[in-house]
Symmetry: C2
Subunit: 333 residues, 2 copies
């Protein structure tokens, strides 16, 4: 059997079975591993790889954006657990054809991302590669045990919320793939794709709210990631697609190019904002305080329901079938 | 400028300059980062990548050996600082052509290596790859701050020692490259190359000896790695090549095939035993106790001298010029 059939989730499940343990460690299969340390402190560890030809094309993304994105996608995982990132480790595999100038610009972007979040790059491994560039970052952060939010802690009745627009990055990728004309809107979407922002301070703030029950970051698209949250929490969810936060930029680009904005919002991937669930009675107050703190809105898009691990989409209160194809790294893009 | 000219060391130096900090963290540029935690405890973090076509050929190494080797090379870095490994994180990039059975065997080897050293695999990232397989492991360990040995702490007059035979793995690789006949000796060398052993308990024991001053693991060959230790310690070294520990297996294979055993011992790479320096007056006692503890000998191969960062080879007390070409991952193998 080839891995295309077995799938990424199949292999991860296999690893989990093989290495299942009764240890103290939490967060296996979540955005980060959560390792208890002295007293109330926990260590958060995450690792994310970017591969040439799969996650990026060298002639499309600037090395500076690539370096920034490589650290950002890891910061986003720490943010999703409500932690602060501290130390980064870079493994990089480089073919002989790579230029010194390209690498120096990669370092500029990496440093920009590290400096913004007070992260120290402490080490790594620099190796050769036959053909493609591989970049892997491991990021260590810290939090308090009682503050960490998980995927498996959503409760029936919770509101399903996100901390930012969905689909901009997916729209940028589609624009690159379709080679559409570079209008101002298209440039903005491409920027969202190449230079995402991790919702770090938002994650720390949301993790401090006891009425936020579950949290994760959106890396593979809401449809795919919410299903993971529902599976981990053993519950179902209903999304009202008219409530999906879609930027006016994406709406305009979709209308100009005949793209489906809702589909991009659900499956485009690489949004790197936060998906979380909230106790309904606390929503208004959390929404208000968040707006005061960060100067923009949170979005309520659905609700956790009781049946087992199903995701239902509604449009103006009618159940609809979107037949979505989820984002997976084993498909060729 | 292409990275072949700039080189691995050039890029690492560039990263170090960009990310240089006045933080509490030790061990930057060493085998592990050493992060102070509560009280006397330190966290050790290392990361090592294996790339298809550079570090392994998929049709030569079994997936089980590859999984075992991927974790072992990381354990070796923790061993070199005298720590205990605890938690591993696997990033793996896989092309669509990889079989489920191959991945399951990789997991068997990975688990074998983790179980031997009581390591928990806690997470990672599974992604696609266009063509080549890329494996990265990050390993977190722990030690006491006062126990950690570094590369930069060798002292003038110290004896230079190693904890095992040199060149077996390099001989195995050469045998594979030259496609020589698979005698019993050759099979043993290939086994050393595909299934190396990390000197973990030896590292913990040596780190506990206050008269062991500097330590690192041998991954890129004695010539290359000792030069790194000398540079970090701002001193020179002299090696007596007749004292290099070369197994009878390697000697026989070299004599049958017309290979240079000393050259393999110095530049073959991937030995994964420990290189360390010892206060001369303590050598006899450390040698004796090590023999009692582990049932085999340590090897004394040279001495640290005063001039700045030079490595000299002697043969029967005459200085010789070996014109060695060091192991670097940016060269095609």
């Amino acid at each position: 059997m080839k891995i295309q059939q077995w799938g990424e989730e199949g292999f991860i499940e296999h690893l989990r079975e093989q290495f299942l343990s009764t240890s103290e460690v939490l967060g296996i299969g979540d955005d980060c591993a959560v390792i208890p340390m002295e007293k109330e402190k926990v260590l958060l560890v995450t690792t994310d790889a970017l591969v040439e030809g799969i996650h990026f094309l060298k002639d499309q993304i600037s090395p500076q954006d690539l370096g920034y994105k490589a650290i950002t996608v890891n910061i986003s995982d720490i943010a999703a657990k409500g932690g602060r990132p501290l130390y980064a480790f870079l493994s990089i595999a480089l073919p002989l054809s790579v230029d010194k100038e390209w690498l120096q610009q990669l370092t500029v972007g990496l440093k920009e991302g590290c400096d913004e979040s007070n992260i120290l790059l402490l080490g790594g491994d620099t190796v050769g590669s036959k053909r493609d560039i591989f970049l892997n970052i491991s990021l260590i952060g810290t939090s308090l045990r009682s503050h960490v939010k998980y995927r498996h802690t959503a409760k029936v009745g919770d509101l399903i919320c996100v901390s930012g627009f969905l689909g901009d990055s997916g729209g940028g990728l589609l624009a690159l793939q379709k080679k559409v004309q570079r209008t101002e809107d298209i440039e903005q979407l491409i920027h969202a794709h190449f230079h995402p922002r991790a919702h770090l301070n938002e994650g720390i703030w949301l993790a401090g709210q006891e009425n936020v029950h579950a949290m994760m970051d959106l890396s593979d698209g809401l449809d795919c990631d919410l299903k993971r949250l529902l599976k981990a929490s053993h519950c179902s969810g209903e999304i009202e697609v008219t409530d999906l936060p879609i930027s006016t930029t994406l709406k305009r680009a979709c209308s100009s190019n005949g793209w489906d904005a809702e589909r991009l919002a659900l499956t485009g991937g690489e949004d790197y904002c936060l998906l979380f669930t909230v106790e309904p009675h606390a929503w208004k107050e959390i929404e208000r305080q968040f707006q005061t703190q960060f100067g923009y809105s949170l979005y309520r898009i659905g609700q956790i329901t009781e049946q087992a691990e199903l995701l239902t989409y509604r449009k103006n209160d009618h159940v609809i079938d979107l037949s979505l194809k989820s984002f997976t790294h084993f498909h060729e893009k």
